[in-house]
Each structure stands twice: as structure tokens, then as C-alpha cells.
Symmetry: C2
Subunit: 204 residues, 2 copies
DNA sequence: GTCTATAAAGTGATAGAC
DNA sequence: GTCTATCACTTTATAGAC
């Protein structure tokens, strides 16, 4: 990928290409999404795609960056309101579920985008790692607010990791079994409450 | 895919092709794994691959079938021994973790194998669904043994679904972050115990 | 910035000798 | 069952007119 990716920040045609590419890639994966399919999907010739993004990997990288921005921009504040821990936990989990429901597309790009070991350039790997890290950060800070502890505490980090794992697993389940599957909110409430109690007792 | 896939059940060359194909597909996904790469990896010409499996989809299907058999054959008995529920739950989770550690390859085929919406034939979709269902069945029966309830009870099924989700999410985490990441056994013990108590109280 | 045209390589799949 | 050779097509990517 050369530096042509820096040309033209948010022109309509660039966005149209990214729309087509992200739809196709989240559906079929990186390898199975060809430039020609993107071209027919967005109506622009292949050479325009190369002019904007330089290479197929350049398209992939731009798709990931936009997906990350979209999803992170849609996250609510990490300050959770509510009288007690159970109420705040319920409110927080509802917010998580809403993000989960609203962004199946972007989450699939994060979670299920074909294999990465050789397919993607290191920039794409870094982008995905940042993506995941930002989600984890948001979860930990929000959980800190729920339990009135620092978001950087071991407990908040640990609970965030557990929740991120479940969100990833639920994203798989949604794709394998039921496209409308939601997060198991009740189970999560019970499980996170129990884990929090264990942490507070200092048993870990 | 034609019926040539039924020729020769377990000849050495057939196994060699499947070894190469499953390694490549679990690493790079279905779309990014070409017949020629399989050919060079196993040392047999492309035409031999077509003679054995009829098509690329035929190879994929055979890979999935063998992965399923391998993984399911390695599952321990669903009867869990131990004095009390906590002991049996610990023993069971250790067994799950061992399967998780021992079969990263087969689990990746189940979980991460590129996108499926159009790539795979319906036979492959059915194979994957069966695969997942069999795992779920084993989890539910084992959990039934742990809690001394029927494996078909709502509680066992519900806990199995929760655990399967986490195993899938952990498989993602293993691939994204840490190749040696294991299942969060302590967290799972706490979470499953709490969920079981909630079920037994009939609160769900 | 977008168009047509095309190069160079790789793809799935097949034919036919042995 | 495995080999070489090959077909028809698609792939990524570029050249150059407008």
C-alpha cells in the first residue's frame, strides 16, 4: 500500500467504496472480497478504488479504521447513573446490549474477519488490536463506575476481560445460530455480580 | 462437489491432503486457501486432490468432518466424579480446559473459519451446526452430572449455552491477543456456580 | 477523479498418459 | 492413484486518455 491512501479525506466516492467494501468484507471476509466485486457493488471502476486506497490492503485498513471510529463514537459515557450497584449494572448491561445489537456489522469486522496471520499487513493487525483495546478500556471504565472503583483496578480490568470474551462469543453465536441472538443479559448480571463479590472478598 | 468424495476411505495420501488442507484453512480461512497451496504443502498434484475430493468444497467438507470426529472422540465421559458440586465443577472445568488447550486447531476451524454466507455449500453449514450442537450436548450432559440434574433440563442447557459462548469468545481472544491464552477457569467456576444457584432458586 | 483497456499472475477444474 | 499439461476464468494492479 502506498501513500495514496492519504488523498481525499471524506469524498462521497471514497465513502461509497468504503460502504461497499465493509459490507462485503464483513459478510464474506477479506480474502473472498475481490476488488471487482467491490467495484460492481459501488458502481465505480477498479482503477478508482486503487486511486483512493492504493491496494486491496489499503481498502481493508480504511474499512477497519472507519468501523472502529463508528463503533467507538457510538459508545455512551462511562459514567453510569443509578442508586445501587444492581441498578447501575443493569443500566450498563443494557447499554452494552444496545451497542451489540446496533453494530453487528462492525463487530463482525472486528471479530470474524477471516484469518489474519498472513492475509493482513501489520498495520491491520495493529488496527484490530487497538480496536479491541479501546472496547476493553470502555468496558473497564464503565464497570469501574458501576462498582464505584477505579477503572484501572484489577477488578475492573478482570471483569472487562470476562465481558469482552462473552461479547465475542455471543457474536459468534449470532452468526452461527441465530442472527437475532442478543447478549444473555440476565446471566451476565448474575455472573458479574458474583465475580465482583469474589473480588471484593479478596479471594483472587 | 460430486460423489468422488466417497472413494478411498483413509488412504495415506488422502490423509496427507487433509492434514495440509486443515492446517492451511485453520490458519488462513477457506477462501485464502487455494488448491495449489494445498498441493505444494502436501506434495501431491492438484489433480490428485480433485480425484479424492471432487472439488475445493469437497476438501473443506472432509476437513470439517475429520476435525469434528477428532475433537469429539477426545472428549472425556460426561459422568463427572467428585464428592460435592464444587469439586465436580472444578473437575469438569479442568476437562473443558484440556480440550480447549489440546485442540486450538480444530476449534479454530469451528469458530473462525472465514465467512460462510456464500462461501460454503449447505452441507458445510450443516456440518458446522452439527459440530457445535454436539459440543453443546456434551457440555449439557456433563453439567447435568456435575449438578446431579438431567442433562436435558433447562438449567443444564442454559449453563451449557453460556459456557459454549465463553469458549468461543476465549478462542477469539487466543487468536487476537495471546496464542497461549487459556480459559478463565476461576471466573467460570464462580459464574457457573452463581448461575446454578439462581436457577435452583427458580428465579429464571 | 473517473474512465477504458490490459498486463501478469493465480484460480478452480479437467484431460489423458501411465 | 498419480503424473504433466492445459483450459477458461478471475485476480491484483497499472497505463494513459479525458
Amino acid at each position: 500500500m502506498n501513500d495514496t491512501a492519504t488523498r481525499g479525506r471524506t469524498t462521497p466516492s471514497r465513502e461509497a467504496i468504503l460502504d461497499a467494501a465493509s459490507t462485503l468484507m464483513s459478510r464474506y471476509g477479506y480474502a473472498a472480497t475481490s476488488i471487482s466485486r467491490i467495484s460492481t457493488a459501488c458502481g465505480l471502476p477498479a482503477s478508482s478504488i486503487y486511486w483512493h486506497f492504493g491496494s486491496k490492503e489499503g481498502v481493508y485498513l480504511a474499512v477497519l479504521q472507519r468501523a472502529r471510529q463508528t463503533l467507538l463514537a457510538g459508545l455512551p459515557a462511562t459514567t453510569v447513573a443509578g442508586a445501587g450497584v444492581p441498578q447501575r449494572l443493569t443500566a450498563f448491561l443494557a447499554a452494552v446490549a444496545e451497542v451489540f445489537d446496533r453494530h453487528p456489522h462492525d463487530l463482525r469486522l472486528l471479530v470474524g474477519i477471516s484469518m489474519l496471520e498472513e492475509t493482513a499487513c501489520s498495520a491491520a493487525r495493529a488496527e484490530l488490536a487497538d480496536y479491541r483495546l479501546a472496547l476493553r478500556r470502555w468496558l473497564a471504565d464503565s464497570l469501574g463506575s458501576v462498582f464505584r472503583i477505579p477503572g484501572t483496578s484489577e477488578m475492573a480490568e478482570s471483569l472487562a476481560g470476562f465481558l469482552l470474551t462473552i461479547a465475542g462469543g455471543a457474536s459468534i453465536a449470532r452468526w452461527f445460530e441465530d442472527p437475532d441472538a442478543a447478549l444473555p443479559l440476565d446471566d451476565l448480571h448474575v455472573a458479574l455480580s458474583a465475580l465482583a463479590r469474589t473480588h471484593e472478598r479478596g479471594q483472587r
